[in-house]
Symmetry: C2
């Protein structure tokens, strides 16, 4: 124990991101990246970007980018916070919205970062255990300063009904952050709630549906006072010049996003049906991944055997998640190889 380091930090083990191995020929279905390239407009802006402009600081408030986001969502500039990935948005929420004696709520299972953020902030965690089918039930009287509600949820892929979410947000006494990282692959979104209720923020990312995981750009939509609080405490220049300009190009190409999301949804339906056919339990997905309970073999075994065949999926050990695998939807060709491998592994050949 170093006495120079905060005890809460010494005690914690930190978040473990999915692996980013550099194995040639690997089919990478483990971190929900988009298999298709970002908008050609992004490539265009990148091609014309002059390195010399990097000598100047970026706009600390990213106004041009946020205006594009505001246009997309039909809201005001003041309703938009742009961050270095939606991870920055989530972390800032814990620092801006939770008092030292406060608490952070989230589902179990859900995005495992939520618990890590509560550890960093050293505030109480109030996890809500989901039912065995990953549906949602909460004790009357449950409260928290901030509730991270991933919708669609990860790693399960399930989107909760619109009315359930609305009722929850209306009744909740703290702030609800609807983490909509996967919403472009889903049936509805909650931006109306963020622009209407005083206690709701929606977080979005360009990592998945805009194929820009490598750029680090996310944003929050919500009431002006909450957005202003995030701006007060962010790092002065949180978004670099390239990210602001490339992000703007991506946001403005809604058609590209839509086309790729639709392609992924078609592949998703096909793969879900094929896995069901070989006996797997496949949960209904509103995301760019499937949550799959393999037939006959343990998830851990299937994970290892897929890996031997150079197919990397995500396995989360533990009582709530260890019976399933999270499989990102890749290209049709990649998923065909996954299905061939799954058939062999489950048949024991």
């Amino acid at each position: 124990m170093s006495h120079f380091i905060r005890q809460a930090v010494e005690k914690m083990s930190g978040y473990t991101p999915g692996e980013q191995p550099q194995v040639p020929g690997l089919i990478k279905l483990n971190t929900n990246e988009n298999p298709y390239p970002p908008s050609p407009r992004v490539a265009g802006v990148l091609k014309n970007f002059t390195a010399e402009s990097l000598r100047l600081y970026p706009d600390p408030l990213a106004v041009k980018l946020r205006e594009a986001m505001a246009r997309k969502h039909g809201c005001k500039l003041e309703n938009v916070f742009a961050g270095n990935g939606s991870d920055e948005v989530l972390a800032l929420c814990t620092r801006a919205l939770v008092e030292p004696g406060g608490s952070i709520g989230f589902f179990e299972p859900s995005y495992s970062l939520y618990s890590v953020l509560a550890e960093i902030q050293d505030v109480m965690q109030k996890p809500v255990r989901l039912n065995a089918d990953f549906s949602w039930r909460m004790d009357a009287g449950y409260s928290a300063s901030l509730f991270f509600l991933a919708n669609p949820n990860a790693p399960t892929g399930i989107q909760y009904p619109r009315e359930t979410i609305r009722t929850f947000c209306q009744k909740f006494t703290g702030v609800v952050l609807l983490d909509e990282a996967y919403v472009d692959f889903a049936d509805y979104d909650g931006t109306d709630l963020a622009l209407e209720l005083p206690n709701v923020l929606v977080a979005r990312t360009l990592s998945k549906s805009s194929s820009l995981a490598g750029l680090r750009l996310g944003y929050a939509l919500g009431p002006e006072p909450l957005i202003a609080a995030l701006y007060k405490i962010k790092d002065s220049y949180n978004l670099d010049r390239l990210t602001q300009e490339l992000g703007c190009a991506a946001i403005e190409d809604g058609d590209h996003l839509r086309r790729n999301a639709d392609k992924i949804k078609v592949t998703r339906a096909y793969v879900a049906a094929a896995l069901t056919q070989i006996g797997c339990k496949v949960f209904p997905s509103a995301t760019n991944f499937l949550w799959v309970e393999p037939a006959r073999r343990s998830a851990a075994d299937v994970f290892s055997e897929l890996r031997q065949r150079k197919i990397l999926v995500r396995y989360f050990p533990g009582p709530l998640t260890g019976h399933c695998l999270r499989i990102t939807i890749g290209t049709d060709a990649e998923m065909e190889k996954l299905l061939v491998a799954m058939r062999k592994i489950l048949a024991g050949t």
Copy 2:
């Protein structure tokens, strides 16, 4: 007051970055940007960067970049933390190294962000008022959990003697962060202390000497346990792919940095002499800016009149700093225009 927002955040006003106005023809000497372009290697990497690779997450630990930094400084990978600007490094230090009941120390005047970071973290501030000549005297028995020591200091430009810094670091009971944002324009650096003492970190930035303010890349050097603590609590993917690759190219081109820093030092000496000649008091600078007390006219007036002539410098109101202006060293042509304007303004013509 919103009851959804932390009281400490509601109370604070936040850090005010220097203006980034979009005025054509403006001579911008207000935020210590480098007037020369970044390394041609940076432009080369940018030109060859394929937008498609942005669909994949970056390396969360930025190993290739940190290896380049470690080679530059003759240390191990584990002694280097790479951050989204040195601002991220400073903010993480407050969160990793200061307990809720702890304290943050810094000089007055110094980089005004330090005080804002203490406000965000809601810990005690222990400012140390500098003497009128900006030299440094500290009460025996002074202590703090973390001391932000900008060396060279800003906005004064003064570098403290090497032995003063070494003795202070050796005796200090908390962590000392030597903020060396401007050190490439100075006479010595403190990396030896960070690699030798258990309580010293050095923060660096590529914003000034590498002409990459728009890229957002900074780093910390120091003992492995402190670096590891920063890694535990940072955002999972804090540095995007472009920043990692472009930053690597910049770090590896030490000659380019050296040439530009030397050019700026020559210009600095010339401008300091010229301003002294017209009666200004110019403090000895080890940075890419000058701290100047104008002759005959108030700093506020000179600031306004320079601005009318489309020359923007930095004015910090207040009893400790309001008698001076901070003037970034630009190109020779820009500084010639500054000198012409200063002569006219001070002569009242």
